[in-house]
């Protein structure tokens, strides 16, 4: 077991090195020199240019620059934003809770709706319910979520006036210092009347938009996994013993059917973070996705580089954890 875990961890190390290499190369390929970005187009006298190049380490051989970059990364130095002059890691950590809160809500939404929908579809295989679940899942899976977001804003916010159009909080009526960075918790801690419901109202549409694709994937996966399990001998045995259908499905079948679903849920991290870029842009949600897009338009390449590095590192780590959970809950692999 320990050997297996160590093996998986060791396998992710080359991926990290390659990731550092790619972000390092990418930033050097980006049009526009970092010095020019600082000095503008006025030009600069050669002495100061040399001093600046030395300061940024650009006069070093490329391999040394790469090693310096790796060294800096390992010490938590992800560069300094050109625009705000603050460390990238610092900016990221301030914005990340907003993205995490949104992503967690979307995941809960997807699991809470997707798993029962998939189970029902499998149990009532071939029924109208099954076909509807699969049709909705197909639509969800094929949905351009940025358009879905615009449609929801158009209908729910503009037409019905039910939900706010954008942002995380009604900042005109409520202001409180962030404690945890999670608006749902902070609004409760603030003790202000209505703050919590305002936070929830702001979360509803982004959660639906971000959760749509994972919902579709989870529903499909649960259904096919459940169908497979329902055909197994031990389920037939359980039925033959005269157990109630609810017990057979809920206890005997579901537990085994959920094993692949757990993996799929874990592997949605990448989808969620990629989707967060679009969702946050549509809803003006102040998270890392929107920040990343803004870094591009502001040509803030250190922020882009550090942001991509951090987001990818999170995805790699979560996938690693999911891998291990999978081993832990599936004895066939553990002993295999």
């Amino acid at each position: 077991m320990l050997k297996l875990i160590l093996r998986r961890v060791a396998l992710t190390l080359p991926t990290f090195v390659a990731l550092m290499f790619v972000t390092f190369v990418a930033v050097r390929l980006v049009p526009g020199d970092p010095i020019e970005a600082r000095t503008g187009e006025r030009g600069i006298d050669p002495e100061r240019l040399a001093a600046l190049r030395h300061e940024l380490g650009l006069d070093q051989p490329v391999w040394k620059q790469f090693l310096d970059y790796v060294y800096a990364l390992l010490h938590g130095d992800f560069g300094v934003s050109i625009v705000t002059k603050t460390p990238v890691l610092h900016e990221f950590l301030i914005l990340f809770p907003a993205t995490l809160e949104l992503a967690l809500c979307a995941l809960v939404f997807a699991v809470v709706l997707g798993v029962p929908a998939g189970v029902l579809a499998a149990v009532k295989r071939g029924s109208v319910l099954d076909h509807s679940v699969m049709a909705v899942a197909l639509a969800g899976y094929s949905m351009p979520i940025f358009w879905w977001g615009l449609l929801l804003i158009m209908f729910m916010s503009e037409y019905l006036g039910l939900t706010p159009v954008s942002g995380r909080m009604d900042l005109i009526n409520y202001y409180f210092e962030p404690v945890t960075g999670f608006m749902l918790i902070d609004s409760l801690l603030s003790g202000e009347d209505g703050a919590f419901s305002a936070a929830v109202a702001h979360l509803i549409l982004p959660t639906i938009v971000l959760g749509t694709i994972p919902l579709a994937v989870i529903a499909r996966m649960t259904r096919s996994s459940m169908l497979e399990v329902l055909g197994e001998d031990y389920v037939r045995t359980a039925r033959a013993k005269g157990l109630s259908p609810l017990r057979v499905v809920g206890l005997h079948a579901l537990r085994n059917a959920l094993i692949p679903v757990v993996t799929v849920v874990g592997l949605q991290t990448g989808t969620l973070l990629a989707g967060a870029v679009l969702t946050e842009t549509i809803f003006a949600w102040p998270g890392v996705g929107k920040w990343l897009i803004e870094s591009i338009s502001r040509r803030d390449y250190p922020a882009l580089q550090g942001g991509i590095m951090l987001i990818s590192a999170i995805v790699i780590l979560v996938n690693l954890i999911v891998d291990m959970l999978y081993v832990a809950i599936n004895p066939r692999i553990r002993h295999g």
Binding site: W147, L150, L273, A274, V277, S297
Partner: protein, 326 residues
């Protein structure tokens, strides 16, 4: 299409015949038996069609895909106007069902361009992106996948670790990084989306090829003195095609979605190109005043992607019975 050629070849080489008989067998078990007189082996193409057409959704998807492809192909003849001509007297005209007129059946956008014409020309761009990405990534996927399966050693380690890394970065984030480096344009969109989806094909070809390599016919071919390249592309590759075709079909729809997302973020096709995602980006300010500009391009994306996915599911059921969902 490639799969039809492979299956319909009147003089199949040995491995192709294997593919044929395998799919023929599994299909006849499923549905063909009743349609064909007992004992007669159905032609592979017929067997494929009979399995494919069993799935009504797949046929519907195929019909829609054919319709959109024809629109895209004959856009200059079908579209009532030029996609970039600005009719300044008719700005933000509603579609015909909301009080507009038949000159602009789907209305006009904020600078007076005909929405219907832009949608029709947009089909060219979206399908073009989808197909280009698919062709390039399948070709590269075959080369890299076969190379890592056959050469093993360092080649395999390098290729597969690079693929692992590509997978580790969220797809859209990686595409954004690539476009930021190369600059936003339609071509760079294709490059970025290809890189993002390449690992799927490489992994799939490698896994399929490794599975084939241990089979007897490969050993037999090796003993007979077949060269390495011939072994890779002529002996083994045809037997890896079924899952690859399925993945390629589904890959088109993913590529269309990804490209539209880049267009929406302003990192894909640049104005005045009538790309569906970019059209939506322009439309954001008109949510209140001109909902048709928001609704129609997204609907076009959704319908196209759903149709391709339906078709892909049908292909999978017909070509790759092992992957059948239920």
């Amino acid at each position: 299409m490639a799969e039809e050629n492979a299956i319909d070849d009147p003089m199949p080489t040995a491995p192709e015949r294997l593919l044929v008989s395998e799919s023929g067998l599994s299909l006849s078990a499923a549905a063909v038996a009743e349609a064909e007189p007992v004992g007669a082996e159905p032609s592979p193409l017929r067997a494929f069609w009979s399995a494919f057409s069993e799935n009504r959704g797949a046929v519907l998807g195929l019909a829609v895909v054919v319709f959109i492809s024809l629109l895209a192909l004959f856009a200059p003849f079908v579209a009532p106007h030029s996609p970039i001509e600005q009719f300044r007297q008719s700005v933000l005209l509603p579609p015909v069902w909301a009080g507009g007129n038949w000159t602009f059946p789907f209305g006009t956008d904020a600078v007076g361009r005909d929405v219907l014409s832009r949608l029709i020309y947009g089909a060219r761009i979206s399908l073009g992106i989808g197909l280009s990405v698919m062709v390039v990534s399948v070709a590269l996927g075959i080369v890299l996948g076969l190379a890592s399966a056959f050469l093993r050693g360092l080649v395999e380690v390098v290729i597969m670790r690079v693929m692992d890394m590509v997978v580790a970065i969220p797809s859209l984030v990686l595409a954004i990084l690539i476009v930021a480096v190369l600059g936003p344009s339609l071509t760079n969109t294709i490059v970025a989306v290809t890189v993002v989806y390449l690992p799927r094909y490489v992994r799939l070809v490698r896994a399929a090829a490794l599975a084939e390599l241990s089979k007897e016919y490969v050993v037999a071919a090796q003993v007979a003195g077949v060269g390495r390249l011939r072994l890779m592309f002529v002996t083994v590759l045809p037997n890896c095609l079924a899952p690859l075709i399925v993945q390629a079909a589904l890959g088109i729809s993913d590529a269309i979605l990804e490209a539209a997302a880049l267009g929406f973020l302003g990192l894909g096709a640049q104005p005045p190109t009538p790309e569906w995602g970019a059209m939506l980006a322009d439309a954001r300010e008109f949510i209140r005043s001109a909902p048709w500009i928001v609704t129609l391009p997204g609907l076009a994306i959704l319908v196209t992607v759903v149709a391709i996915n339906l078709m892909g599911d049908g292909l999978r059921d017909a070509l790759d019975p092992k992957l059948r969902r239920s």
